[in-house]
Each structure stands twice: as C-alpha cells, then as structure tokens.
Amino acid sequence: MEPFKLEFAIDGEDFHSAGEASSETKKALKKLGIPADTIRRVSICMYEGEMNMVLHANGGAVTVEVGEDAIAIALADSGPGIPDIGAALSEGFSTATNEIRELGFGAGMGLPNMKKYCDEMDIQTELGVGTTVTMKINL
C-alpha cells in the first residue's frame, strides 16, 4: 500500500466540531480498505486523543500516517502538560471539571482506552509546554 497521510488542526474552542477529525479518518481508512476492527481501534484511540486536546489542552495538531505495517497517530498540543503520567493512565483518574463531566466525559478512561486499543504508545509531556502522544496500531 502507498504511504498515506492525513493532517488535522484541532480547534480547542470549538466543542461542536470535536470528533470530526476522527470521523474523517475513519472514512478515509474505510476507503483504503483497512479491516473494520483496525478502523475501530484507530477511531477509539484518535477520538479519545482528540477530545483530550479539546477538553484539556485548547486544541492542537493531529497526524495520521498509514504505512505498510502500521497506522501511526501523533497528537501534539501546547497545553498545560500532564503532571503525573502514571496517574493519568490509571482508569478512573481524571482532572476534568464538573462542566466537562456533564458533557459525558471525565470518566478517567481517555488515556487508558488509548493504551488499551493501540499496540504502542508513547507520551512526551512538559508542564506548561505541552504534550505529544504517539500511538501505533499494527496492520
């Protein structure tokens, strides 16, 4: 398969558009003939990452690259950073406000879901500078 790349700018102010990058990616992967279960895993990983950026980091940039052996997703933001990655990766841990919880988020499952549904995950974060999460889903 030819290498294929998608790039999105996520607007942190626009909650109504949140999830659109994930939807676009899903449609593109479907056209490429990627297996349904792989698309499902990519969708979960990317949607959780996209919502994290909107809810916690005022947006950022997402790239999705389809290679021969894997799909790589990179989410980069200039948000507050993650003070304790270990805690953030524990199911149920959340720093979400009540406002975010009322929207159905803040269950403390975002990063745990991402880790669960990808094959490799790396988090680079610096307080006050931003966070970059990269994930790989094998084909």
């Binding site: 994930s22 499902r40 959780e48 988020f105």
Partner: protein
Amino acid sequence: MLSGTDSAAEREVTGGYSGDLLSWVMGRARAGDAWVTIMSNVSVAAVALLTDVACVVLAEGVKPDEALLSRAVKEDLPLLCSGLSAFELCARISKALE
C-alpha cells in the same frame, strides 16, 4: 424519530448498549447496536458514528440540543427519542432482539 433517512432507519439492529459515559460507550458499543443514552450533546453523534451503532435512542424524554440534531441530520444518523426510562427501553429492545 428525529433524524435519519428511510434507508438509514431500515438498517438492522443487531444488539443494544446503554451508557452515558462517552469513553465507556466508545470502547464497548458495537456496530449495529441500538445505543440508549440520556446524553444530548453533539458528542453523542461523534461517538455513534465512530462506533457505527445502528441508531441512538434518547431516553427519559431527553431532547437533543441543536448541535446534536443538526449533526445527526447531516450524517444521516437515526436519532430517536422516547419518554420511557433507559431500563424500560433496554428491556423492550432486548425482547425485540430475541
């Protein structure tokens, strides 16, 4: 039924899922499910499209907000609402699936 063309509405429901925590639903609802929820914001459409559920049923008389309704119309997502409780809806869906 608030949105979804006839062809989208004719899709077979093969299972059901009930939940309001969107990350939970995202990881667990399956394609073809009828998803019963009391959440009414635009993220419901995003989760429904990504999980590929057959329809969304808003329970307890909940009405979708404007952004959810317009996204559901745009994406041809069958969105239904009912005055029944989530429990009662699940019981009826489950019975219909037998």
